[in-house]
Amino acid sequence: MADTIFDKSRPNRRATAQRVDDDAVEGLLPRNQLRGSPPLLPEVSELQAVRHFTNLARKNFSIDTHFYPLGSCTMKYNPRGVHRAAMQDGFLKRHPLTPSSHSQGVLGCLYELQEILQDVTGTSEVCLAPMAGAQGELTGALMIKAYHADHNDDERDEIIVPTAAHGTNPATASMAGLIAKEVEVDSEGDVDLDSLKRVVGRKTAGVMLTNPSTCAVFERRIQAISDIVHDAGGLLYYDGANLNAILGRARPGDMQFDVLHLNLHKTFATPHGGGGPGAGPVGANERLAPYLPTPMVMKSDQGYQWLEQTERPKSIGRLSAFMGNVGILLRAYAYSLMLGGNGLCRVSEYATLNANYLMKRLSDAGFHPAYPDRRATHEFAISLRREAKETGVTAMDFAKRLLDYGFHAPTTYFPLLIPECF
């Protein structure tokens, strides 16, 4: 029997230190608006609560306790110093609607982060508001739509995604009211240009790609892809999930992407938190920048200030009640300060070295890389098809067995186009 916190509750028990003087509200609120029966909240002592959640924590794998060779998720060390920096009272106790005159500290950090991310991605403006990669994708899709609408190009309701794309890409397309069109990937992991040419056309709003791709190889024909799409009047969206692989080596902006998101909970080492929160800032080139969401931070003679919808008439608008996941943005900012330009470049070098090394060692041990003739990027895929066929031991079995040895398993069965992918 799992011992939930409710199993530990007893009527009228409580953590009394958390009491608040509770003069009645008689007369202040109308009777018919009041709750009849109390909610099912736990009734435990403070020690019971502390012990329960401490012991729950101990049941998790985590970066701080285990090695997590998860592809696509960029499981870096989450620096404790960065957590500490963001958990200061000055940041935590700041109300989001404090006038900017009294918010120069946090606004300054956000402004500088915008600039750093522009530099890293080769874009001309960055908005920090999106709260995760998927919201960044939605932002990008909406900006692409807004751009076409602005140019009275109303027929473009299709967005192209490779078959290997992350599930959020097609799901985002739907949320944005676009139709996801799939494009094939060839046997070497690159987008099939013929397939692309077949789907691209005057209904093409844009294409969503990540590079390195979800096949974990660098999309070599990115220039050709960009030309094909741009020539057809479409725009290029870069899914930043794999930016870690190319930090300081190649910039999405230089690859002709028009708009992109970054996953700060990947590339900028903010913790995954058992599922979130993340942050998915969006950057755009000059063409798409006017459509970026609000608020953003600008710098003027009066110091840093919020840039709101009124100053950005073409903006797609707001994505959250306030300014997205500021606490995560502060962590990413602190991380980028510690790494600096030189450190960020080394990240892609050593991530790539590690992945290629592990791929080589596993190949030597008899495993089969999905793309044996390609370089690994910051990750690589192995196909356990042969093992599954010959022995009946599937990728799932390998994954579970790794857990027994204290390793979180790699991302399995993704991308789906690689059989028994590990």
Partner: protein, 445 residues
């Protein structure tokens, strides 16, 4: 090279194994013309010590004094245990609990969270969070349109007493699916019953307490909406539900979808994020619920365990047909909220809510004894109230800040003469002395 463990010898031996000369060789598949030469415009990295000094300086600039500002983000006391536990590495640095065997801690916690939220709202099920309250409302509207397909309408009625940035967020997100968001007018700060307006609406949104802190007549509005064939989406502050009738009990059948922001449940204000949005609904609609859901099950030996359930709704399985594109959610904040709700418990949360009501009423009573300060609306309010001042509240705000008081939220643009109105709030964390300081600072000018 912060955080990179490689020694020179490590790198050399790895390169030897790979049969290459330098790490550069590994990037030879990137076409030369798109390669860039590092990030020369960025400064070099600094040590943790230097970073910390810089961040402390920034943090110290922003300490702003006693907070009487609410408007969707509240200064509640957070028991120390909440973040001590939430910051444990096993919660903080765990991945999304897809591998159930490696994630029983997080999964059980989410299950407990869902149970608490469902009970607070008096709904059947809750999900494991979406981004924030505003985006939760957008998801709720998309969900309502999917559920209420038979209504064939795509008109969603939203009261003008809704939090304005919630409305803005909804508009950015839902309009792209051909949904039109229409406004329900307000009278004396609350939404009157306007049956006619509800005709042919797929859903009606109702915020309780509303943006002005006032209590709407949720029972009647729910009845009217249901009578008109519209679903009811409740937007609530979960803290208030320790006292107020839960949306699941509004009218005869209750709201159909309930959403809101979890910030009051142990989440620091932190410039507004990260917090989390929650979404609850009836069991009948669970397959339309976006986001993750944790469930309790048994393994093959009959031992209880927890897993992510109904994953076929989600983007990683259903792709373009998913209920939402959400992937990363706000899990760590859910962790904090679950611990918060456990520590406060049934009685504690009620005391917090009671103190919020009492303190705000005390503040309002004290302020309205001063000359020329009046309540704008007549209805019952919870822990926020709109007051009219004899001067511009943007300027008043600045003046009060000099005296260490964050006086409230200027309502500029919200209604006629809104520039002299301000929304004030006093949570359980405000003492009688804090309230006196407010009065004193106002008097001192």
């Amino acid at each position: 090279m912060p955080f990179i463990p490689h020694t020179h010898a490590d790198t050399e031996s790895m390169l030897t194994t790979l049969g290459i000369e330098s790490i550069n060789d590994l990037f030879d598949e990137i076409p030369a013309d798109i390669q860039c030469d590092g990030l020369p415009d960025l400064r070099d990295g600094i040590s943790e010590m230097a970073m910390q000094r810089h961040m402390s300086e920034k943090a110290h600039i922003d300490e702003t004094g006693i907070c009487f500002l609410g408007a969707g983000c509240y200064d509640h006391y957070i028991p120390a245990a909440v973040w001590d536990l939430t910051s444990r590495g096993e919660f903080l640095t765990a991945y999304t609990p897809y591998q159930a065997e490696a994630s029983q801690g997080t999964l059980q916690l989410v299950y407990e969270f869902q149970t608490m939220l469902a009970s607070l709202t008096a709904m059947d099920v809750a999900n494991a969070s979406v981004y924030d309250g505003a985006s939760a409302l957008a998801e709720a509207i998309l969900m309502a349109v999917r559920i209420n397909r038979k209504s064939k309408s795509r008109r969603v009625m939203v009261p003008s007493t809704l939090h304005p940035t919630y409305l803005a967020t909804v508009e950015s997100i839902v309009s792209h699916q051909g949904i039109s968001v229409e406004s329900l007018p307000a009278e004396d700060g609350v939404t009157p019953m306007l049956k006619a307006k509800l005709d042919n609406a797929v859903a009606v949104v109702l915020q309780q307490p509303n943006f002005f802190g006032l209590l709407e007549d949720a029972d009647t509005l729910t009845e009217h909406a249901h009578a008109a064939g519209a679903l009811v989406i409740g937007v609530v502050n979960p803290m208030t539900l320790a006292l107020l009738k839960p949306p699941g009990e509004w009218g005869d059948n209750g709201a159909d979808i309930v959403c809101g922001d979890g910030q009051p449940l142990g989440i620091p204000m932190a410039s507004g994020g990260p917090s989390f949005g929650f979404l609850c609904t009836r069991m009948a609609h669970v397959r339309q619920l976006p986001g993750r859901i944790a469930g309790r099950t048994q393994d093959k030996d009959g031992n209880d365990g927890f897993v992510l359930t109904l994953q076929a709704r989600e983007q990683h399985i259903r792709r373009a047909k998913a209920t939402s594109n959400i992937c990363t959610n706000q899990g760590l904040l859910v962790t904090a909220a679950t611990i918060y709700m456990t520590l406060l418990g049934r009685q504690g949360l009620k005391e917090v809510a009671t103190a919020c009501v009492r303190n705000t009423h005390q503040l309002v009573d004290r302020l309205t004894t001063l000359p020329n300060i009046e309540k704008r609306f007549t209805g019952h309010y919870f822990h926020e109230c709109v007051l009219d001042f004899p001067e511009s509240t943007v300027e008043l705000q600045q003046r009060m800040l000099k005296q260490g008081i964050l006086a409230g939220h200027p309502m500029t643009g919200m209604f006629d003469e809104g520039d002299r109105a301000m929304l004030v709030c006093a949570t359980e964390a405000r003492t009688a002395q804090d309230i006196e300081s407010y009065v004193q600072a106002l008097a001192d000018g």
